[in-house]
């Protein structure tokens, strides 16, 4: 009898022994670059009146910083009730952003290469680590180059772009061009109050070719196939051209709009 209990308790002790105490001076993992040249787009659905959004954005940027700023792009899409412009809060709403957001009911929310967004789900920021790492490890299928010509006086921007297949690929292929403005200062709710000089990063200002982009001429492409696109637009007078970018991505609608490759190019 006694033996049974002692054995049982000893077994419990062994089973539960060995708890891990992490050295507090060494909690951060070292950065280990992954190979490959696939780029990844994180869409951060955020809002100026969303108290948890700045922290989530920091997390996404920390991830970008650790895994490679040339490999990971962040697009801050202001959408949803907490992004609805009121009072002194900045207006970063866009029709396309609202369409992408697709009636989700909270911020912050994330998608990684559109995965988990178009099938109705979204990610919390803590959940993006793995999808980002997975997406980085995927093979590259396309290469995108963007060339911007900007005329200071007329504020006219011409975007010339080439999408080149790096492998053979079959799907329902689309390409999208987005205007992004970085480092805008404005009101943002933060935990415990209001930051009147918050710096909004990578703010999505709209697309040049619709919410879903435009189709590639062919859905079955072969390596070295190249497609050219041109677009023009006039920058809004309130935008700071020095901080504007064109962000472009190729997506596959046969895979719920999964993004295959992303590229970014400064306007100036």
């Amino acid at each position: 009898m006694k033996k049974t209990i002692i054995t049982l308790m000893a077994a419990m002790a062994i089973a539960t022994a060995g708890c891990d105490k992490i050295d507090i001076n060494n909690t951060h993992k070292p950065y280990t670059p992954t190979g490959g040249s696939k780029t990844v787009l994180i869409k951060d659905f955020t809002g100026a009146r969303c108290v948890n959004c700045p922290e989530a954005a920091d997390y996404a940027h920390e991830l970008q910083h650790r895994l490679g700023e040339d490999r990971i792009f962040i697009l801050s899409v202001h959408a949803g009730y907490l992004a609805t412009p009121t009072g002194q809060f900045p207006d970063f709403l866009t029709d396309e952003g609202t369409a992408w957001y697709n009636n989700h009911d909270s911020n912050p929310l994330f998608s990684v290469d559109h995965v988990a967004l178009t099938d109705g789900n979204t990610l919390n920021v803590e959940q993006i680590d793995t999808p980002v790492a997975d997406a980085l490890a995927e093979p590259q299928s396309f290469d995108i180059t963007v060339e911007n010509t900007y005329d200071e006086s007329s504020r006219k921007l011409d975007v010339k772009s080439e999408v080149k297949a790096v492998t053979d690929y079959e799907g329902q292929l689309y390409v999208s061009y987005c205007l992004v403005e970085d480092s805008i200062v404005g009101w943002q709710i933060i935990p415990g109050g209001m930051d009147r000089e918050y710096v909004f990063r990578n703010v999505f200002r709209g697309t040049l070719n619709g919410a879903d982009g435009e189709p590639l001429p062919s859905n079955h492409v072969f390596v070295e196939d190249t497609f050219a696109f041109t677009h023009s637009m006039t920058l809004d007078s309130t935008y700071n051209a020095d901080q504007c970018y064109i962000l472009s991505y190729v997506s596959d609608n046969s895979k719920n709009g999964k993004i295959l490759q992303t590229a970014m190019q400064k306007v100036k």
Binding site: M12, C19, D20, N25, E126, D129, T130, V132
Partner: protein, 578 residues
């Protein structure tokens, strides 16, 4: 594993069933089911202009228990087709949510399947299911209970927790499902039952201790996540005559998580209660301190997902609609709380007691934050920084930041054979910004009162009238609320509510009610919420049909809450057990 358990259970059942007629005679089956269905309608009056394609919400469950002597087994099916508004969308689906088989002969008890249990007051381990919250953190695995001698109970549990409909097997789990394995052991020794000379002693004492650990995989790209996180607790219950004292202390090692912002501080909790009771009088004082005690089997878990432990809130649970609009929910990262409750019955036959006695109750509870001081991390003074020890906290210091306070007084009096009155006054302080996350919203400071009068028409029929009022001290009265702030003022300001119920015992109840947010600082929110309800009860079957508007609110059970969006429509509830 799941399949094997089922197979064994089925085989065992069939085997037993085929072999012995007497077994069948001892077999007993009971069960229950419940369906809650809502039909939603557009209602411009309360801003519902789009149903988002959701006209129906149905939550249902059916369960069957089978018992035969020392053996029992059961299953529970659940269906959310889709889930009702206010429930987590992950619930959407149908399936076998729960099953178990238990053999218990008094000396040893073995359960395989889904386990609900708790150690002590739950500070390190509690799995439970709360249908009204859509919450279930059952542990699927095994449990062994040993009772070697009178008054000694030893328990061991092992398994993985339920996470909506996610699979339990490692190889079937999705890539972002980091749920770990939970293991725990608990021992309790009741001296009065184990020592014969103490069996009928006025002095009562029991002791207990538990240890729980989770084994999780470190999937983080940024931080080293501990793969084995342990928590331990010790408890003591003492009693002498009319006095009772109980206390429990819990400790948890470093457990960085999404909830605590990936800090590596240890967690602690202390609870104590002292009570005195005699016929006609009872008083209880409770105190509590928790610090970083959120303990989940997935370090990325949010909200109430995958809680291994349960931090009991210590505040009064209101049941009338206006006072329960602002119900406190436990703050997982730390709080200090105290509560005093006194119940007294003025005896029958005295001047104030009258023929039936008068029941009085007083309750006061307050919850404040703990004090958090910055600490040195890599040569910098930081507070709550990711990857650091977080903060330093003086165990006995109370922060000036008050989350909640509730002072209430209740009187319950049967005046004569036909009339019965129940009334309560409540003074409430509710930090809505912290508790509900409404950034920038002013604190709710309100006086609330209700009178509940029942008149017995005859032996079978009665009428009940309930009048309630909620008056907020300052919520920007006469101040123009900015467009941007409007949404934070939903349900704010003064309320009045009335309910009239007519019952025909034992089957029928009819009621109509209105809640009116007449003092909302935003004019368009000054809405009426009419509802009508018919309930039919026959033995263990209850059918309830109600229609009207539901205001936005919070439903809480045991300090765990879910928010319910405003809605308009019809609700049908059918429940039965056999």
């Amino acid at each position: 594993m799941q399949k094997h358990i089922l197979l064994v259970t089925v085989l065992a059942l069939i085997g037993f069933g085929a072999s012995a007629q007497s077994f069948l005679e001892n077999s007993q089956v009971n069960g229950s089911f419940q369906t809650d269905a809502q039909y939603y309608m557009l209602d411009k009056g309360i801003d519902i202009t789009d149903l988002n394609g959701k006209k129906f919400g149905i939550n249902g469950f059916g369960k069957v228990n089978y018992t035969n002597g020392n053996f029992s087994a059961g299953i529970r099916f659940e269906a959310f087709l889709p889930e009702m508004n206010g429930f987590r969308s992950e619930l959407n689906g149908v399936g076998l949510a729960n099953f178990y088989a238990t053999y218990d002969n008094g000396f040893i008890g073995v359960t395989v399947g889904d386990i609900y249990d708790q150690f002590g007051s739950g500070l390190v381990f509690r799995t439970y299911e709360e249908w009204s919250l859509g919450m279930d953190n059952a542990l699927r695995g095994a449990r062994v209970v040993l009772r070697p001698t009178n008054g000694v109970t030893i328990k061991g549990v092992y398994g993985r927790q339920r996470f909506f409909w996610a699979p339990y097997l490692e190889r079937e789990m999705s890539a972002d499902d980091y749920r770990g394995i939970v293991r725990g052991a608990d021992a309790e020794w009741d001296l009065n039952q184990s020592i014969p000379s103490m069996n009928d002693s006025k002095f009562r004492m029991s002791l207990g201790g538990s240890f729980v650990s989770k084994k999780q995989a470190d999937q983080s790209l940024f931080y080293y996540i501990p793969e084995n996180v342990g928590a331990a607790a010790a408890r003591l219950n003492l009693g002498y005559g009319n006095w009772a004292f109980s206390t429990e202390y819990a400790y948890k090692i470093n457990d960085p998580s999404a909830i605590n912002n990936f800090i590596y501080k240890e967690g602690q909790a202390l609870m104590a209660s002292l009570s005195y009771s005699q016929k006609g009088f009872g008083a209880v004082l409770q105190v509590k301190r928790t610090d970083n005690m959120s303990f989940k089997s997935m370090y990325t878990g949010k909200q109430n997902d995958l809680d291994i432990n349960f931090i009991p809130p210590i505040n009064y649970t209101h049941t009338h609609s206006l006072p329960s609009m602002y119900t406190y929910s436990t703050q997982p990262n730390g709080e200090m709380a105290a509560q005093l409750q006194v119940n007294y019955t003025i005896p029958k036959g005295t001047a104030l007691g009258g023929k039936y006695g008068t029941k009085l109750a007083f309750n006061m509870s307050q919850v404040n934050d703990i004090v958090r001081d910055s600490i040195m991390d890599n040569g910098q003074m930081v507070i709550n920084k990711k990857g650091s020890l977080g903060y330093a906290s003086d165990f006995f210091a109370i922060s000036k930041h008050r989350f909640f306070r509730d002072i209430n007084f209740e009187i319950d009096k049967r005046i004569n054979k036909d009339w019965h009155v129940n009334a309560q006054y409540i003074n409430l302080y509710y930090d809505i910004e912290t508790i509900e996350g409404h950034a920038g919203a002013p604190v709710v400071q309100a006086n609330i009162g209700f009178v509940d009068v029942t008149y017995k028409i005859n032996k079978k029929q009665s009428l009940r009238l309930e009048l309630q009022g909620l008056w907020e001290n300052e919520v920007h009265k006469g101040y123009e609320v900015e467009e941007s702030e409007k949404k934070d003022y939903q349900k704010r300001g003064d309320w009045a509510a009335a309910l009239l119920e007519y019952t025909i015992s034992p089957h029928w109840s009819f009621s109509i009610a209105d809640k009116w947010n007449y003092g909302n600082p935003v004019e368009e929110y000054r809405d009426h919420y009419f509802t009508g309800t018919v309930t039919y009860i026959h033995d263990a079957t209850r059918v309830m049909l109600s229609g009207g508007r539901q205001s936005e609110g919070v439903v809480c059970v045991g300090g765990v809450c879910r928010t319910v969006p405003a809605s308009s429509g019809v609700t049908l509830t059918v429940s039965t057990s056999f």
